[in-house]
Symmetry: C2
Subunit: 329 residues, 2 copies
DNA sequence: AAAGATAATGTAAACGATTACATGAAGGGG
DNA sequence: CCCCTTCATGTAATCGTTTACATTATCTTT
């Protein structure tokens, strides 16, 4: 049904090789012949079959993206960054949601291998040796975003420093009773380093750590809300809460407001991520901005370069975070 | 470098046809032979080349998704729904962001054709005859979400009714000075029908339309904020504002709060979409919920059925919206 | 004008699977 | 015990490109 290069060749009165050559313009074809071929392509509306091409040239111009869940804040922006750059380099992206399920993740890696993607952007769990080795053995380049592993390329921010900056800013406001609603301590990508940053800032300011002020959340709104309720009911309540995600921070704001505290006068809150919601809430949220879109862009640039065989000087890139001062602190 | 079916065949001491047969299990292969083949596959870690397979069987188990921008609220949830069902049916999704740019859109359609996707989920502009015809001619099934066109399959909600429900609810609260911050009137998918629903509700309640109360926004936060500022500075200010998107509604809330109005006592606001932010803001937002995830699921189910040649009874599905009553009204 | 160099195009073998058809082995009926 | 099915597997064509190599046309040079 669909036309092939043969149909075009016949109509143009040339061989298939010639048609292929005018399309790929790597070999010179006489002006006149070129015109005949182009006319035939135009007339038939012929579109080359990329699958056949891929089989021969051994690349697909497709890259896989493995993330936990596109509907969590955080991912859409970085995916958009990836896609924009991918598009510039003529790659398409295959999106895979794992829900952090190792089994699902393994299945996706398998189909991406079978579909012969040229590369994979991974931002899910921490990666395993098994997977890294397998991908290396089939020649699929891996790029990590917001996670890191051995000699693999990665794009990250300095989470320790970022959390430290946030907490130091609070301290600079003259507050010392600062609580943390952190991420999971088992999460080495964000939970742990942000906790460390919090501790570091307090220590350096000579403030002793109060166990009651440290809670573990799951980055979701509800856990921020619940956490704040708990913290605010302490007999010695904190005057500021640093949450390891904006969603949690927004939960904190709500809990604070509900309890009748004026923000920031009576309760300061600082978040992490700078999701777009954070500028919209009232009071708007002081937070740490991760350059999400840029992380996607830089990651995809790096990946594209490696795929094109360019030698890359820096294959572990740490992007700058930024403290965004708004109304909540 | 990577192994092919030949290597497996050699190792197992059988022909490539036999290997193919045990993998596809459409033809019976003796238990004993099967075992030899399976062992060889296991031993070599062989993964079939889906590209080669696609070339022969003429399907790719890939579907394209064309959207304006994955980083706008609205899309991540529906994309997630699509992906979940796609995954069940063993499809992968190729994500394409058009920014509503016709040129980019055309390019994406072209590469999706070249990459031989089995189907396309489209939720961008309104589709054109030219595109619909071209896709039909190359045999690519199209499914529309939240837009509609001629005989194409589609998943939508009843926007007129939804807006009407929202406004009627406001009226039921005893308020009659109701303003609208709508979408673009040139947007036939959402802007126009929601405007119509607003007008319908007012008319049926015998409330005359006040031109000053009708503003056009672009669904973004800022346009809601600006719009509300304008409305609230009217000498005869509205007592309620219906915004055609939650982002705009959140802008309205902020503008209202800044101007010192108590919400909902002095100013009611109702949004549209039920993005997850809407339950987090304070006061939380009364809004119309579109079943985004479900729209993705139902859409992909419909598409998968058509691709499997099942006769589908209903190819235009209108899903139920729901009024979510929260604090803002 | 012939010979050699070069330019333009054609021919056919890949790429790695699937599958129609061919073949050989095993089983069953008379 | 032979012939005919039926079952299991093998052989080779095919999908639509790209590209190494072969061939022919064109251009220099003397």
């Amino acid at each position: 049904m669909s036309l092939s290069i043969k149909d075009v060749a016949k109509l143009a009165g040339v061989s298939v090789a010639t048609v292929s050559r005018v399309m790929n313009k790597k070999v010179f074809v006489k002006e006149e012949t070129t015109k005949k071929v182009l006319d035939a392509i135009e007339k038939t509306g012929y579109k080359p079959n990329a699958i056949a091409r891929s089989l021969k040239v051994k690349n697909t111009k497709s890259i896989g993206i493995i993330i936990p869940d596109i509907s969590s804040h955080f991912f859409p922006d970085v995916v958009r960054g990836i896609e924009d750059i991918a598009n510039e380099y003529s790659y398409n992206i295959i999106l895979c949601n794992t829900d952090l399920n190792r089994e699902k993740e393994k299945e996706y890696f398998d189909v991406l291998v079978e579909k012969q993607v040229d590369g994979i952007v991974y931002m899910s769990n921490t990666i395993t040796d098994e997977i890294a080795d397998k991908m290396a053995s089939v020649g699929i380049e891996i790029l990590l975003i917001s996670t890191d592993y051995k000699e693999l390329s990665s794009i990250t921010i300095d989470n320790v420093k970022a959390a430290e900056d946030a907490v130091k800013y609070i301290i600079s406001k003259g507050v010392r009773d600062i609580a943390l609603i952190g991420g999971e301590m088992t999460d080495p990508n964000a939970g742990l380093p942000r906790f460390n940053g919090y501790v570091k800032a307090l220590s350096e300011a000579g403030i002793s750590i109060n166990k009651d002020y440290i809670l573990e959340g799951n980055y979701k709104y509800e856990s921020g809300y619940e956490g704040a309720k708990k913290l605010l009911s302490l007999k010695q309540r904190p005057r500021a809460i640093f949450a390891a995600s904006d969603e949690m921070a927004i939960g904190v704001i709500r809990a604070g407001l509900e309890s009748g505290y004026r923000i920031p006068d009576e309760l300061m809150v600082v978040g992490f991520d700078d999701i777009d919601m954070s500028r919209m809430v009232y009071p708007s949220l002081t937070t740490i901005s991760q350059p999400l879109y840029e992380m996607g862009c830089e990651g995809m640039k790096l990946l594209a370069k490696k795929l094109h065989g360019e030698k890359v000087e820096q294959f572990k890139i740490v992007l700058e975070h930024k403290l965004i001062i708004r109304e909540s602190c």
